[in-house]
Amino acid sequence: MSDKPQNTVLVGDDVHRQWSRFKYPQTLINYGILLSVLLFFSYSVHYLNIPLDRILGMFGRLGDVLANRYYPPDMEYIADKGYLNAIIETVQMAYLGALFGLMISIILGWFAAYNVSPSKTYIYPIARIFTMGCRSVHEMIWAILFVTILGFGLLPGVLALTMFSIGFAGKLIAEEIESIDMGEVEAIRAMGGNHLQIFVYGVFPQVRVAFTGIAIYTWDVAFRAATVVGFVGAGGMGWYLKRNVMQIETQRTAAILVSIVILVVISEFISAWARDRMSKAK
């Protein structure tokens, strides 16, 4: 290699220049934050009684459990007519839940979008809180609440998924509406249009395409949730899952899990394809 003698001096003075990576308050603050986060994490590990010394062994055991008890999946069980029926029910539940949720979300999104909300002082905060509430409560909790009120069956599942879809789509739609071009809204307002006319002629045409995208996405997510709401008695495949877990039918459980993964992947493909088609058609 070439090792030509190198030119080290440029300025030619022998001044020693001061520089340090440590900047007095800022670096200290950064390290402080880092340290407190680390402390919090280590305290959490202690508080939750996580047996750190046994963790590695646990992963070995996980492999063991999967290989010996869950393998091979009992595929005959899921080819059964009753189970196939449950799959169809799950799809229907997700479809209806997403549909109802979307219909409500359009109105809620309109109310919860600051720029076009009919009343900024009353309707806007109520719509916001309602969507946030739907988001905050997990779909399983919705399912349990509806099962308590209405009993076992598909109806509570549909309603739980409706609430879930409102939470999911409501915020997205409101955000979409908030980013529209206000000029068109102004034009209709200037013509003397009322709030409904403003929404139908000024707002909706602008968000229609984005809305279709959100709708497809919502359906996809709702289907994922639908596969498990049955766990608490809200119908569909989840009920089969619950029963086999409780009876420690591990190979059947494995088969059900496999079927869930396959169905979700299929639904994801459909959703991706539909969104792709849509963005091309515009």
Binding site: S44, Y47, Y95, V137, G153
Partner: protein, 272 residues
């Protein structure tokens, strides 16, 4: 060019419009049929309306939930903290196990494309398509009941989203600094640390905080399958028919989520 430049007659236009309308009509017809079929199957056939009873009776069962069980509040503190911690450690663990998935799953840095890339993509899809409840079931059967199973479930469920978004961020980096570091004789590791990491680190942290916020919601229900936290209290109240207690737990979950949203909002702002 060619035939398409020939002027369209009025007939052509009308025919095209009709065809488009027929297609649209067919599409909506299919949608509507599906709706009716689903409604028929789920709401009409499957539901025992007699058992549900009248609207007044539904109102009565809803009214059970109104009220707050003040006696429960002191015993909620522990589980609330536990839920919060499960979400935090679960997200952190998720991020740690994500790192190889991000590395393998980004096309421009994956070490051996024909093998590592598909492996990472399959892991991401698996992680995202399995619901947290199902993950928790798997881990409970492997490591037993308790918070640890919940943490593993949260981590496994977070992997997919964090890894997918982060890998996309890496695929979309500006390649100019990478070229500069290669040109000055930097190794692959140095390219990663100096050329790629500074660009994607803020993005990844943003994604992680977003996922952490969702994980608070998730960890609140893992008690359903025995993975500890507020969920366990929730189901205990449910099973003892203490409906005001149920409401109280839900309010506690709300509070926790609110804290999460505030923290996430400010920390994301601070990072930009």
């Amino acid at each position: 060019m060619g035939t398409s430049t020939a002027p369209m007659t009025v007939d052509d236009v009308v025919r095209l419009r009709r065809k488009k309308h027929r297609l649209q009509f067919g599409f909506y017809l299919v949608l509507a049929t599906l709706v009716l079929w689903s409604i028929q199957a789920t709401i009409i056939e499957d539901t025992d309306w007699d058992r549900i009873g009248s609207l007044a009776e539904i109102g009565k069962s809803v009214s059970h939930f109104i009220g707050i069980d003040f006696k429960l509040i002191p015993s909620l503190l522990g589980p609330t903290i536990e839920t919060f911690m499960i979400a935090c450690i679960g997200t952190l663990l998720g991020l740690v196990i994500c790192i190889p998935a991000i590395w393998f799953g980004a096309l421009n840095v994956t070490p051996y494309k024909p093998v590592t890339y598909p492996v990472a993509r399959i892991a991401m899809t698996l992680s995202r398509s399995i619901h947290e409840i199902v993950w928790a079931l798997i881990f409970v059967s492997a490591v037993g009941l308790g918070a640890f199973a919940g943490i593993l479930a949260i981590a496994a469920r977070s992997l997919g989203f964090i890894a997918k978004m982060s890998a996309e961020a890496i695929e979309n980096i500006d390649t100019k600094p990478v070229e500069a570091i290669r040109a000055m004789g930097g190794s692959n590791l140095q390219v990663m640390i100096y050329g790629i990491l500074p660009q994607v680190l803020p993005v990844i942290l943003g994604i992680v905080i977003f996922e952490w916020e969702i994980n608070i919601r998730r960890s609140a229900i893992l008690g359903l399958v025995g993975a500890g936290g507020l969920g366990l209290v929730f189901f205990r109240q449910m099973n003892t028919f203490n409906y005001p207690g149920v409401t109280t737990v839900i309010l506690a979950i709300f509070g926790l989520i609110l804290i999460g949203e505030v923290v996430s909002h400010y920390s994301r702002k601070a990072m930009i």
